[in-house]
Amino acid sequence: MNTALELKNVSKSFGLVKANKNINLAVEAGSIHGIIGENGAGKSTLMNIIYGMHRADSGEIHFGGQKVDVRSSADAIEHGIGMVHQHFMLVPTFTVLENVMLGTEGGLMLRDGRGAALERLLHLSETYNLQVNPHALVSDLNVGQRQRVEIIKALKGGAKVLILDEPTGVLTPQEADQLFEILKVLRDDGVSVLLITHKLSEIMDITDTVSIMRQGEMVGHRKTSETSPQELAELMVGREVLLEVDRKPATPAEVRFSATNLGYTNAQGVLELDDINFEVRAGEILGVAGVSGNGQTQLMETLAGMRHLTSGSLNILGTEVTAADQTDPRIIRDLGVGHIPEDRHTHGLVLNFEARENMILGFHDTELAGSGTLFDYKAIQQNCEDKMAHYDVRPANPRLNAKNFSGGNQQKIVIAREFSANPGVLLVGQPTRGVDVGAIEFIHKQLLELRDAGCAILLVSVELDEIMSLSDRIMVLCGGQNVGIIDSADADRQTLGLMMAGQRQEAAA
């Protein structure tokens, strides 16, 4: 076998934390190699070592059969390693071409470099089907296109190994499929692709071989064709995991929450939600499906009172809310609505606050923070300890800042806070985004338990599988409009896909 990249006994510690322990890894030339592991398993650290952003404490890196010393990302690029980061590193006000040139402008004047870069860019985009307009501003591109620019940047130096760190986290299913097509072309051209992910389906769909990491160690290497999602999940988590959600039929009761001709026009005058009608009953989950950016965020935030609806009305647990009412999140919350926001970093948590402070965020006016004028830190501590125990938040340290928890545990803090308030209606946005397998299982179970306890739940997710496995009914949004609501028993990927593209329910069915 022709090995493109090999790691031998690579270790790396940050202070007392051993991020990587004696990692061995061999990546074959012209293959797609997946690295899978939960958040915090050490995947990103390992990739940063390969790319020269971190230096390993010990161990060797062999590239193309030769031992190399990668001291910086410039070294890595020289050795033919390219990396596409999870968070894009592009200058939004530059054009695609200018971004691609960045770092290799060549000479005093830009003219010569620009010509060469343009040629290279066109060549790459043609060879690998990376369609993008070189003269478009990056700020005008959508996420999928920006990622292509990143890939072109990574490939421009003639990379033989391409590292992609969680590339599909920000993509729609269609964009992800396009990305995978591109990766296949790259593989067939002899490039080795290292795909970092925590999504089992991606590993199974696209990779040739897969390495599994857990707690800083490599726990296994498999040929993708010879393994199963079940085995991978168990290796990742270290115990048996339930991948399928065990959902009993719902027993919906009274209507708890409804929207009538709901509309939302933003400050720029753009109609973002158009004539939405739905109702959610006690004891059922209404899923909201749609390609990301079709009004889901606006819907959630309007329902939660973070934006003001501009037409139509809502009925929340018997209280009528219209455009004339200046609602705010406080009022909606006090009506008995819980809200797991789509973006826990921006909305759900104050990352620089301790876990115990986050555990009372939004409830700090209640007795959770003490019954007197001043905060009762004993009560706050106790409240956090109890909820951490009940929702299995790890580490169970109420004094740790929220930013120091893993994604899954951060989400559990938000969930613990919102679920414990025992809401009559719950708005849930992207409950498992950036959350590891073990935590997903837990969160799904908790959601269903809450449903069975009689809560009316509205669930927004870009993961179609999640919507399909949890929801009792599914509403599909496209361009801010409600395309239709169907029973989840009648929903399959095909039907939903057509509806997400804007086809009305009758036509789709």
Partner: protein, 373 residues
Amino acid sequence: MSTPTPPLPRWADLILLPIINLFAAFFICGLIVLAIGENPIEAMGVMIKGAFVYSGGLGYTLFYTTNYIFTGLAVALAFHCMMFNIGGEGQALIGGLGAALASFGIGLYLPAPLAIPLAVLGAFIAGGIWGVIPGYLQAKRGSHIVITTIMFNFLAASLMVYLLAGPMLEAGQQSPQTAKLAESTLLPKMADILSPLGFDIASTPLNASFLIALGAMAVFYVLVWHTRLGFNIRSVGQNQEAAHYAGINVARTIIITMAISGGFAGLLATNEILGFNHKVVLNFTAGYGFTGIAVALMGRNHPIGIFLAALLFGALTQGGGELDFEFQSITREMVLLIQGMIILFSGALAYMFNPPLARMIAKFVAPKDPANG
């Protein structure tokens, strides 16, 4: 990109790093003193003696410290809400106006135990009003707080010149200042407070306002970390979006924060006006409002840190005066230079020594690792 530095232990971050920064600042200043032909060690000795040792030195130092505590707290509170309050100077000036109006208005009719709190309240409220207007403009109109507070400094200065040279000018007086404030609203000197208790200290401008400053520190601590309002303030400061999500009224929190912040700055008048000048004079704030930014920065927006930073700046102000007095070639500007250096090293370059220090500490701590892990 190089290897990221290991995090600095908390104790080193809070104690060692500021001390190193301070020494770096003094070292550079020492070189400058050397360059103008004086002995830096000797100069340092004069400064320390002037600030702490000579009779009355400490009293003066604490008098200046009081001013820095008030303006430091003002800036720090706004910082907790991520508001950059540059307007301490103007708020303190208007605080003086408030104190004077309260004094002239009620001081003649009430005994000291009632009149003093009301005069102090006058300073707080007036400063608060001067803070709340930019706060409102920021919260409701989106006018940037940095710009508006700076403009409000000029407005306050102009207003005071107009009032002191016109409507409030003492009859028959040439220089722009008010008449003496009502006796019942004046704060007693610390020397007078302490002597009946058996402590004999030199009579200095140090007055009961120092106690108000200590009280303000306690109020600040409880407010920020132990009340719901403080939680709102810190939430808005750390993550406005999350605060909004949590149902906190962001605009209202900003307005209230700026009101209290301005109030703290206004309290400076209790020291300078009610405690020392006993009348409102022009420019009594003398830059304390601006230095308060450095005090808050150095003090890490915590009352204890602010006290220590204020003490340092107080000592520099007092010791610097001695320096000017003792040495021919060293002038008051040297003190400004030292202050500037300290601000440079502990503000702008605060983390310059962080990476090397962190690596050094990591080296000493690291050998134990294998045993633990």
